[in-house]
Symmetry: C2
Subunit: 204 residues, 2 copies
């Protein structure tokens, strides 16, 4: 029997999100959160660098899912198709989201009212993009192709993610992502066809 209940960080994350939804982020103090969980403020700040971090500290593992998705694809199919690799990465991330729609909805609701949190989210997304781009580049995808592939794949993910959280009926994120990928494809096809012609001299 342990002296304290295990999973303190998880219970703090859960309690924080509930309170943020209920009263708003600014109106919820760290003392409110720790009181609900039954620990002290010092414990909170040992698990999370600051109050915002309780909403963001799982990013590290998400980024790992993203990069693993890309590397798995590249090991199987090689670096020839950077866009497909980037899409394999976003698809892997989407799968890991699938079971937690309600948590993501609550999270977005909290972020909507707090510009500081939106900024942190944007920084996080930039870091994800950079990491994915680096992974592709280090595995043989030409740097320019990697940049474009990441931009396109991430744009589709954002579209699909937004739809996933907005829709009343819960469609699966994965299928929304495939649809978004296809939509972006159809927009970009003329441009890519043109570039392929000038580059390889080949044509559909």
């Amino acid at each position: 029997m342990s002296r304290w209940e295990p999973g303190t960080a998880d219970r703090l994350r859960l309690a924080a999100l509930e309170l943020f939804v209920e009263r708003g982020y600014d109106a919820t103090t760290v003392d409110d959160i720790v009181e609900q969980v039954g620990v002290t403020q010092r414990t909170f700040f040992r698990h999370f660098a600051d109050k915002e971090e309780v909403l963001f500290d799982e990013d590290a593992s998400m980024q790992q899912v993203l990069l693993d998705g890309a590397q798995t694809y590249l090991r199987r199919h090689g670096p020839r198709n950077g866009l497909a690799a980037a899409r394999a990465a976003t698809a892997a991330l989407a799968r890991s989201f699938e079971a937690e729609r309600e948590r993501h909805r609550a999270r977005r609701q909290v972020l909507a009212d707090v510009p500081a949190l939106q900024g942190r989210q944007l920084v996080k997304q930039e870091r994800w993009g950079e990491a994915l781009r680096d992974t592709l580049a280090q595995n043989g995808v030409p740097p320019v192709d990697a940049s474009v592939a990441v931009a396109v794949a991430v744009a589709a993910l954002q579209l699909a993610y937004s739809e996933w959280l907005t829709a009343n009926r819960s469609r699966r994120l994965h299928s929304l992502l495939m649809a978004a990928d296809a939509r972006l494809d159809s927009v970009l096809t003329p441009a890519r066809a043109e570039r392929d012609v000038s580059r390889t001299g080949r044509n559909r």
Copy 2:
């Protein structure tokens, strides 16, 4: 003769930026800043909503410059060319930056070390983009064209701005911006040509 020196906010901005460059953002307290200017902390927080705001509160006037640039163009040339209007806006903003290169360099140096400030900057840029897009749309530019035009014009501005601050010799931001616009044009021309063909071919 006034009881206090005028321009308190300006002197606070200046002192803050100097201290941030000298010691770093986190290592500079608000007390440090107000002591140098000779006011109290309460005065600081009356001028700036929080410590970060001392680096961001001029955004409102910059956004006004941006939107005025777009509206002036649209009044003269009409809404036919959304991209040109967006570029007129970024060019107007660039002109307003021209005289303050050193301040912009210092600012960027401070932001580089503080993720929270980078987040605020990203949020700011998003707001600028939204505002410009709305302005274009409200003045007759089709919404989709407005979105694309803003994305392209802003991308060029960011490129030029970065070069402007990085270059050792101080080239003029305006000319760097024109060059960046041209570079993006040459990248996008094939795509746009293709789309124009498919569009006019179907409609006419």
